[in-house]
């Protein structure tokens, strides 16, 4: 029962406005909707959706706006972003956003979030303190678009090591690619993830082949989805949150069946809002692997995050895999970089 002294709060039972309102007292959330009520589905066209439903920081529907730019021939995303900013909207939710709308939202300092499903559920997610922490943790772990180098080390019980070096590029919530730089046997091999789609390109095979997220491209404890990880908030929602003295414990549940792990239990440093440990679990809560985040480092450009990630697994007793990050920096990429056709040319992105 001592645990209950520390894990005092199940935040889902709290007043839902707390987190978002705490950050922005005047929070106004606009959700792209296919109809005028909150039971409707979220629109997949942020710029040209039929309606925007505006909610206040307590989750109350305060206004229904018919999108004046829904039939615009061009520039709908940009004009919609500016229109909502003028109405005081601080966060826009839609299923997809165009590049120009993202650019306009950034210059207006409007936050945005890609979500699928029902408008009413989206508001619950947006106002949940746990999900807010998760979104912030994602941004603290890496910028939305960046490049970095990683070294993967598989360590066997006898101390024998095998190392791989990867160049990684990521853009937005759902695009990430990695290119093997070494060893020679793996050089030129690349993997691409576009949302839940994954491909592997092996120079000897000569074409990208579709793979599944649970497979491992390097052997050892890390699998494809660890190597090509998307933002946690993209794949998981917070089912439950506990608050300890200096940590949050987030219980995450996969949004879809195609996500590699059904559940995650994540320990988050309260001050830094960075993960310290994650347990990856099956639906029946069986432990698949544990990920430890270590050696927080300043990469420059306001990127301060763990530079070493260790993984062990009860399925691989005595084995350990380590990921070391280097040269992480913000970088903008064209969407076309994250396509199957571009995979053989990922090397051209290295500067």
């Amino acid at each position: 029962m001592k645990e209950t002294l520390f894990s005092t709060l199940i935040v889902l039972s709290l007043v839902p406005a707390m987190a978002y309102a705490a950050q922005k007292d005047e929070a106004k959330i606009a959700v792209a909707s296919n109809s005028k009520n909150a039971a409707s589905s979220i629109s997949n066209k942020a710029g040209k959706c039929p309606y925007y439903l505006i909610f206040n920081s307590t989750g109350e529907l305060i206004e229904v706006i018919s999108n004046p730019y829904k039939d615009a021939q061009s520039g709908a995303g940009q004009q919609t972003a500016n229109f909502l900013a003028k109405k005081g909207v601080t966060l826009i939710v839609a299923e997809t956003f165009g590049d120009k709308m993202i650019e306009a939202m950034r210059s207006n300092s409007t936050d945005y979030l890609k979500l699928q499903g029902i408008v009413h559920d989206a508001i619950k997610t947006v106002l949940s303190p746990g999900d807010q922490i998760l979104i912030k943790l994602d941004r603290n772990l890496n910028p939305e678009s960046y490049e970095s180098y990683r070294k993967l080390i598989n360590i066997e019980p006898n101390g024998k090591k095998k190392e791989y070096v990867l160049f990684t590029v990521k853009k937005g919530a759902d695009k990430v690619a990695a290119l093997f730089i070494s060893p020679a046997s793996e050089k030129g091999r690349s993997t691409l993830r576009l949302d839940e789609n994954m491909w592997l390109y092996i120079p000897n095979v000569g074409k990208p082949i579709r793979i599944t997220s649970l497979q491992s491209v390097v052997g050892g404890v890390f699998n494809n989805s660890d190597i090509l990880r998307l933002d946690y908030a993209t794949e998981y929602f917070v089912e439950q949150m506990e608050e300890l003295k200096d940590k949050y414990v987030l219980h995450l549940k996969a949004k879809t069946k195609t996500v590699a792990y059904d559940k995650l239990k994540m320990w988050v440093d309260k001050d830094k809002v960075l993960p310290t440990k994650i347990e990856c679990l099956t639906e029946a809560s069986m432990l698949i692997k544990t990920i430890y985040f270590k050696e927080t480092k300043d990469f420059g450009d306001k990127i301060v995050r763990p530079s070493v990630i260790e993984t062990d697994s009860p399925l691989y007793k005595g084995y350990k895999s380590v990921m070391i990050f280097a040269n992480m920096k913000k970088r903008a990429f064209e969407d076309e970089v994250f396509t199957l056709t571009f995979m053989p040319d990922l090397e051209t992105l290295r500067q």
Partner: protein, 431 residues
Amino acid sequence: MRLWPALAVLLTISYGMALGEEEYSFDLSEIEKKPLHIGGYVEFRPALFGLDTNSSLYKLNSYDRDKENIREEYNFSALLDGSYKKGTTEFRAIVNTDLRKSYLGWSEETTLYEGYMSTRPSSMFNFNIGKKTLKWGTGYAWNPVAFLDRPKDPYDPELAREGFVVASADYIKSFDGPLKTFSFTPVLMPVYDHINDDFGKINRLNFAAKTYFLLYDTDIDLLFLTGGSKTNRYGMDFSRNITSNFEIHGEFAFINDFKKRYINSDGTVFNNEYDATSYLLGLRYLTKSDTTYIFEFFHDATGFTESEMTDYFSFIDQGYDTYLASGDDSLLTRASNLAEGSYNRRNPMRDYLYLRASQKEPFNILYFTPSVTGIFNTNDKSFSVGPELLYNGVKNLELRLRTNFLIGDSYTGYGEKQNDFWIGFRVRYYF
């Protein structure tokens, strides 16, 4: 120019200090980009073949030799892969040399697998000219839509690495919404004396194209080939993940006016012209215990029927009997000439099932992958089955032991292959 190594050393030291207690290091000189890159591998492949001296194909290939039950073969190969990048342009060459000691003595063959210039002015465009593989299709063992590729060995799909001389381009465009990616790849392929002259009819400039869509999380390709070196052909393929451990794929190819030459048992040659529709359906499934199953069904409408193959085998037997009786090998020579590109294909018949099961790292042996591959000819019920052990736990070294048993009745596809079994070892070192 000496700044970079100094910086790399400095950063390595600082990393070493930061990570000192775990003893991890990340030498940043490892990520330095160099304009010139030379890599590749060397390998040694000894193999042992158990011959079926009563099989038709043994008789066809070895009628003028003393009968042998076992043959040894030693292969040494070196593959050199070099590239030079300047700005947005890359020059690349892949050259392979095979040195073989077989029952025919020593032989050497050097082949330019690929040699091309590639330029990428932006992430949306790419242009290539030179010898290059295109590797179209989503199938693992077979690719009926690979209109511009050399046929591959279902047991070793990586072997077909030699390309053709082409000029090609890629245009890529990404979108938000159900259609995430569109790309268009037009290809010009000249077939003249000494240029791609093993592809088809010469003195033709062929045009082919592939249009790719990532639509509703499904890879879809539409493809065609025209120009006269081969008859016009059109294709479509797809691939899609159903869950995080289950993928499906397929290919459909339509070939206009396909011309098939076949022989009956008394040696009369027939030419048949028809529109052929071939297809492949497959899946890849990963179990919770890390076993990957790849399953494919291939219907090849350009292949031979069971009775056509039976006729061919009985014609060879007839030719062999004639040779034994009179020393006249003209019938066998005729059978051999007919085989080229048709009867001697690895899978010359119409319907095949492919199953590969591989187990990742059993018994916690890291980098060890045992697997078994089976190909079943559903037309004549003959089959081949081959276990394989692969280990790549030592840096840049790959060890592979593979066997294959070919099983079938008389006058069946696998029953009449010249080997009953073979066993091969491959040690490959990458540099």
